[in-house]
Symmetry: C2
Subunit: 206 residues, 2 copies
DNA sequence: AAAAGATACATACAGTCTGTATGCTTACCA
DNA sequence: TGGTAAGCATACAGACTGTATGTATCTTTT
């Protein structure tokens, strides 16, 4: 039983190895957390050696970074599908929020993006990822549009985005932990409605 | 130079050793994070041996747990001083929020309570600590009172508490990171005002 | 197409860390 | 005052991380 050495291009080898490592790492990081997952375990699950891992990634943290980026992009994609920029601002905001909470129910996402992510990579880096390839960008653009259209009151964009994002994050965590989604959707709706009402009030006065 | 062996009671020895360990651990966990801080480094800074550490704490995580509990209690104390339960509900809510954000500016608190805490101990445990000895209990009681008095609309208490808490947490993080506090206070005030307006509207209708 | 070089990977190793086991010293208590 | 338990020190086993070095496979150049 001689193993014929198949000829594969380098780019294909790289693609395959990285994919196996990312898949195995995601699985284990989700199941046991970043700290409790060792690189020997990861490479065993991926059927490669530690040499391959350290060839493709600077260190364990870089591997985790890649997993998080991939996951963040996946969430963003689901949101943009559910709340395209063609929607009216406030509708898009609500639809996007619901889509976000739903997307975050995919197994392990809350742990990767909301628990281990900020601790391992730092909140600043997590925010960067979330803004550039994740859901935070959509939220900020949505809020900006809603404020411009007068549907929401004019508030400091950065703080507004950060606080709403935090609320959505916590809601996603709770729902993924088994809480009733409607409870959280009710509160979020109440918050947004309250703000919208303020915007209308302001628009009528002058 | 003979070191006279001072006679100390066991409870005093324990108290002193635990205090030194907690202080040294807090300092290092804040400076380098939980994962990057080793027990050899901690005991060196505390001038004890690893034997002492493992005599008083089950493991490194238990030591971290004690640090977090201590920190959480300190924050709660500052809040209760600034927003005693004698205050009218909504005033207490605002004052408590401002006090929370200020209290969290104490060096390292955001890292301990908002970044490493949830990742190392798990969000469920962090919530338990925060509810029993921390600021979350104050917030929940405040919201409950405000809803009962009709100052805020009736919403699911658990979700309401969680989402507002998340917003306060993120505000504290941002402010501690150098953001302008007034931006965040503005948005939080807008959110609470919007909710309060809804409560008033409902109270007039029927 | 053969040599030279780069890329992908494998293996071995050094350093460090964690938790435990074991022994000694000091305080407590009957 | 002698036995017991608590506090602490030291030594050790196992595991993990990152690096260094060696080898095979692909790519480029001439």
């Amino acid at each position: 039983m001689q193993q014929e050495p198949i000829r594969r291009s380098n780019v294909e080898r790289t693609r395959a190895t990285r994919a196996r490592l990312l898949a195995a790492a995601r699985e284990l990081f989700v199941a046991k957390g970043y700290a409790e997952t060792g690189t020997p375990e990861i490479v065993a699950a991926a059927n490669v050696t530690r040499g391959a891992l350290y060839h493709h990634f600077a260190d364990k943290q870089a591997l985790f970074h890649a997993v998080v980026e991939q996951e963040s992009a996946a969430v963003a994609q689901e949101i943009e599908k559910a709340a395209p920029s063609s929607m009216p601002p406030v509708d898009a905001l609500i639809a996007g929020g619901v889509a976000f909470i739903r997307a975050m129910r995919a197994h392990g996402r809350t742990r990767l993006l909301l628990l281990d992510g900020p601790a391992v990579l730092g909140r600043a880096e997590l925010d960067r990822i979330d803004l550039e390839t994740g859901a935070l960008g959509s939220l900020r653009d949505g809020l900006s549009a809603a404020m411009a259209s007068g549907a929401l009151p004019s508030l400091p964009l950065g703080a507004f985005t950060a606080l709403l994002s935090a609320a959505f994050d916590r809601a996603a965590l709770a729902v993924d932990d088994g809480a009733d989604p409607t409870d959280y959707e009710t509160v979020i709706a109440a918050i947004i409605d309250g703000l919208a009402a303020q915007a209308h009030a302001k628009n009528v006065e002058p």
